[in-house]
């Protein structure tokens, strides 16, 4: 079994376990958090095959936007009061250490090849090919959402 298959197997198993966690837990907040882990792992499966555009779209739209809103909704509508208090600065120390270690490892291991280009014709050509389509999708999504919301609110007002 090669590394790709093994990593895919691990991603699949952890995704199934986190989905099970979302099913088993009674608290909506933890259920939403497990759901976010499942979505991140679905995006990670794309990363295994090097399909980075879909990975970015899933992480940005599903995990970043919709997942975050779901977590906020779940945390504001809770029947179960939280048992663990995370108040106090002590909890921040391991978080900062972990962030530092992860950031350092990424900085050391990932070979960044960032090139800043000032060739405006090349930038415009690149933008016109792919990003216009994605931007159109995003603008369309926002317009539809806002129109639907306005319609809902007007109907409720009447």
């Amino acid at each position: 079994m090669d590394v790709t298959t093994l990593s895919l197997l691990m991603i699949g198993i952890i995704a199934m376990l986190s989905a099970c966690g979302s099913l088993i837990t009674r608290d909506n907040l933890y259920s939403a958090l497990y759901m976010s882990i499942t979505l991140i792992l679905a995006a990670a499966a794309y990363a295994v095959f090097g399909i980075s555009p879909v990975l970015i779209l899933i992480v940005l739209i599903f995990v970043g936007a919709i997942g975050a809103v779901t977590v906020v909704l779940a945390s504001t509508h809770r029947y179960i009061t939280p048992e663990i208090s995370v108040a106090g600065p002590v909890w921040g120390i391991p978080a900062i250490v972990t962030m530092f270690i992860i950031g350092f490892v990424i900085f050391i291991r990932v070979p960044y090849d960032i090139r800043i280009s000032y060739d405006w014709t090349a930038i415009l050509d690149s933008f016109a090919s792919e990003y216009v389509i994605l931007t159109t999708f995003v603008v369309t999504l926002i317009v539809i959402m806002v129109m639907a919301l306005v319609k809902f609110v007007r109907r409720e007002g009447v």
Partner: protein, 101 residues
């Protein structure tokens, strides 16, 4: 082997999503179940990228799936907020009728 892993993962997550939807008592849990179902869809889409002639089409399908499902989920989130404003609860029992009279 890899396709089998992806398909099995997708099916298991889809079934778990259905189970969450069936056992949900409030609409937020229903929203979570829908998002898990979409996660299973994303797993199921990956084998399309393995066919060389279908890579562009697979990317198009993935983009359309992501945006349409995102729209659908945002509409559901808006509905949940409006339901909470009207009925002061998010329990599924509070929803008496479906559709338009």
């Amino acid at each position: 082997m890899m396709v089998a892993i992806l398909v099995v993962t997708s099916i298991v997550i889809l079934v778990i999503g259905y189970l969450i939807a069936i056992s949900s008592r409030d609409v937020i849990r229903l929203l979570i179940s829908l998002e898990i179902m979409f996660a299973s869809l994303f797993f199921a889409l990956i084998p399309l990228f393995s066919i060389e002639n279908l890579t562009t089409i697979a990317f198009g399908i993935a983009v359309i799936a992501i945006f349409t499902s995102g729209c659908e989920l945002m509409a559901l989130i808006s509905s949940i907020i409006l339901l909470d404003r009207k009925t002061k609860t998010t329990a599924t029992d509070s929803i008496k009728v479906g559709g338009v009279k």
